[in-house]
């Protein structure tokens, strides 16, 4: 996709006070939409990396692999917010910002002296997004949350799996992504509102609520029935058969989802079994028996072969792809992008999964070393020249 039309958020200035995944991921979405981002970091708080991201030291530019990916497309300034001078520079940058994103626990930004109430007086147009686990109010305002605990209490783990399964989650930082995405939608919405009113706002995003909203339909069902909804274990309520089927080899699986009677006839022919179940109602009623018949076939074949044969027959099927198999798929080819600094032979990062026609996607630039682009940030945002920056930095003693 090429074109010279600017991306929608070009010219929007974002300050990233985020850490670990949720905040910096939200900011990366805004950057990929065209925003100009400065990350405010504090060298003395380097330990706050999150353990999955902290297990392997090294990475690039002083960042572990996950943080290197999450923090791309921004500049970094190292400011100690616990010093007067560091705070003063932060405030000057905030005065020039359109958006501020932070995902500290509730109350931390206020204690640092950069809570929304203080900042909005000087910059009433500021869109200030907080992303605490449970938000800035309510009985759990002060609670500690992290991805796994939020997956647990947002209903996700009991909406997943089959009846009588233990709670089941997803092994990545799913909840951080969902929180970051919701915050990004809210920020863009707030920028639109600001265009009409001239006023910014404080967006009190709760990562918990973002995650609960993802199963809002199941909440609605329970509100009416006063029962927990059925755990379908990968089955569908509108198509059958559907499921993950064991294939030949160790821990090999293929997903199959039969969407129509015609597709069922194709699958039935491959199974070579004497069973009808011509209607959807029949197939729902005999789902267990059909599953057994499908696994009698798939259990002898590789998942790639199951996918290939069903693909040829026009039946939706996809093997369970692991890390070493994903890059070859079309969707992965589309989202993997090179980094400007390293070119096609360097590490590939994940870009936005959507494109704006007539606008070239934002070129991916690598996450900077902490504080590496502080001078550039001060020059661009505050219009300071080199001597003035040198003066500031001497006092700040970075």
């Amino acid at each position: 996709m090429t074109g010279d039309r600017p991306l929608p958020l070009s010219g929007i200035r974002v300050l990233d006070f985020g850490h670990i995944v949720a905040g910096p991921f939200c900011v990366r979405l805004l950057a990929d939409l065209g925003a100009d981002v400065i990350k405010v970091e504090t060298a003395t708080r380097q330990g706050r990396t999150g353990a999955r991201r902290g297990q392997r030291p090294g990475g690039t530019n002083g960042r572990t692999p996950h943080l290197y990916h999450i923090n791309r497309n921004r500049r970094s300034i190292d400011l100690n917010l616990k010093t007067e001078r560091g705070l003063a520079i932060a405030r000057r940058l905030i005065d020039k910002a359109d958006v501020l994103v932070e995902n500290f626990s509730s109350g931390v930004m206020e204690r640092l002296g950069i809570g929304y109430g203080t900042l909005a007086k000087a910059n009433p147009g500021l869109v200030y997004a907080s992303m605490a686990s449970f938000g800035q109010s309510g009985p759990r305002q002060g609670w500690t949350g992290m991805n796994v605990t939020l997956q647990a209490c947002s209903g996700l783990m009991l909406a997943t799996g089959a009846e009588n399964d233990p709670p089941i989650g997803i092994s990545n930082s799913w909840n951080d992504y969902i929180g970051g995405l919701h915050a990004a939608v809210a920020i863009v919405g707030a920028l639109s509102k600001r265009r009409q009113t001239g006023k910014g706002c404080h967006l009190d995003v709760s990562q918990f609520e973002a995650s609960v909203a993802m199963i809002g339909s199941l909440l609605f069902a329970s509100a009416v029935t006063r029962r927990p909804p059925a755990r379908l274990g990968g089955r569908s309520s509108t198509a059958a058969p559907q499921g993950c089927y064991r294939c030949a080899g160790e821990d090999q699986w293929c997903a199959i989802s039969v969407q129509s009677d015609a597709q069922w006839q194709k699958l039935r022919a491959l199974l070579g079994r004497d069973m009808r179940y011509d209607t959807l109602a029949d197939r729902f009623a005999h789902h267990d028996a059909i599953d057994t018949a499908i696994e009698a076939w798939t259990g002898k074949v590789s998942p790639q072969e199951v996918e290939r044969q069903l693909g040829e027959a026009g039946v939706p099927a996809a093997s369970m792809r692991r890390a070493n198999e994903i890059a070859a798929t079309e969707e992965w080819r589309q989202v993997l992008r090179p980094l400007k600094e390293h070119g096609e032979s360097g590490p590939k990062v994940i870009g936005l999964p959507f494109t704006f026609r007539g606008s070239a996607p934002r070129e991916a630039t690598e996450a900077p070393r902490m504080g590496a682009s502080g001078n550039e940030a001060l020059r661009d945002w505050l219009g300071l020249d080199e001597p003035a920056i040198a003066e500031l930095m001497r006092e700040e003693a970075v």
Partner: protein, 375 residues
């Protein structure tokens, strides 16, 4: 606020709900029988069939509904008239009319085209997400409740909201192409990063956490609770205060996270032995007072009376005409923007009003209904 036409499937419907939560006027264009979202189970007693689906009730809240048969000439003409007055249209492919015709009717339209891709489970498997969801020794599974579809939907909302913001600045619309398979692939980022950085493959962990050495969902007297034992020595001291198992008190070596990683299963077993006698909300309260990340594992039924969700206006008691008094899930953004969310519309609830707004006379509206163009 913007006028948005919604012609999405289940993959995009949460996205257009979020646009309604931002305050936009979202009009869902449905077939005369109602759209596919209405078919999704669970189907609730107490309402007639096209109104009884829980997914319809949640995902279409805050929207209006017009029932138009787009297979008819009159229906397509009507759609173009609506396009001409809209700011944006969000459409699951295939488009009901050629893109050129839609853009000819409104050159400044924001047109978000959603490629739904293969069925949800298949896209989830291809993306690399299935390999990290489920019990390690059991069957892989997909996140339930059509959460993968909702995850695509949030991207649809972001792409559309951004294009609308761009249009406000330039006066020009834009075509946005959203790919559901790409959305799910992008959410498997960490799978890619681990592998490309170190050759390691993320695996299914079931209800275990992968961050701290000891983390997972463990049984309680009344369900499960999730605990992540803090990695630092002070956190461990707090944890031993919470879980006074003799095995922890007597063994100083367990204050070390590396040692805990080695003896993970043994520690989890000890915690479970203790927590089986406890009530989940009580131990979670106590853990939180000690700054230990812990949470009750909850199901949607428990969430519907959740004090945090009620206190912050995510849940709001309403009198629903079909279902009576219920705690209605307003939404994560609507509660923040204090945006009133109407309950999901009945099929074609706003058809006549929309036609009237377009300048159709009462007799023309009757004629369109009689000939089966609208309902």
């Amino acid at each position: 606020m913007a006028r948005i036409l919604d012609l999405t499937s289940l993959m995009g419907a949460y996205g257009t709900r979020l646009l309604a939560e931002l305050g936009h006027d979202v009009l869902r264009i449905e077939s005369l029988k109602g759209d596919s979202v209405r078919q999704e189970a669970p189907v609730l007693g107490g309402a007639p069939s096209p109104e009884a689906g829980a997914f319809h009730q949640f995902l279409n809240a805050g929207k209006r509904s017009a029932a138009i048969d787009l297979a008819t000439e009159g229906g397509r003409k009507l759609l173009l008239a609506l396009i001409a007055k809209a700011d944006a249209a969000v459409v699951s492919l295939p488009l009901p009319l050629a893109e050129e015709k839609l853009l000819a009717a409104n050159p400044d339209l924001v047109l978000a085209r959603l490629d739904d891709g293969p069925p949800e489970l298949c896209a989830y498997a291809s993306a690399g997400l299935l390999a990290i969801t489920g019990e390690p020794d059991g069957k892989p599974t997909m996140l339930g409740g059509h959460v993968p579809c909702a995850a695509v939907g949030v991207h649809v909302a972001l792409a559309t909201a951004a294009a609308l913001f761009g249009k406000e600045a330039s006066g020009k619309g834009q075509v946005v192409d959203v790919s559901a398979p790409q959305c799910l692939a992008s959410l498997a980022e960490q799978v890619w990063v681990e592998y490309s950085a170190s050759g390691e493959m993320m695996e299914r962990l079931g209800s275990r956490g992968g961050i701290t050495a000891v983390a997972g969902a463990l049984p309680c007297a009344d369900g499960h609770w999730m605990i992540s034992v803090p990695p630092d020595p002070r956190g461990w001291a707090n944890f031993v205060q919470l879980v006074p198992h003799p095995a922890f008190k007597d063994d100083g070596s367990l204050a070390d996270e590396a040692m805990r990683r080695e003896r993970k299963q043994e520690i989890l077993d000890c915690i479970a032995e203790w927590s089986r006698q406890q009530k989940k909300n009580e131990i979670v309260e106590q853990a939180q007072s000690l700054h230990i990340p812990a949470a009750a594992v909850t199901n949607p039924l428990e969430l519907i009376d959740d004090p945090q969700l009620l206190a912050r206006g995510f849940l709001k008691p309403i009198d629903h005409p079909d279902f009576g008094r219920i705690n209605f899930p307003v939404g994560a953004l609507a509660s923040m923007f204090q945006q009133a969310m109407s309950i999901a519309p009945t099929l074609g609830e706003s058809t006549a009003l929309i036609l009237d707004e377009l300048g159709y006379s009462v007799s023309e509206i009757h004629r369109l209904k009689d000939e089966g163009t609208v309902a």
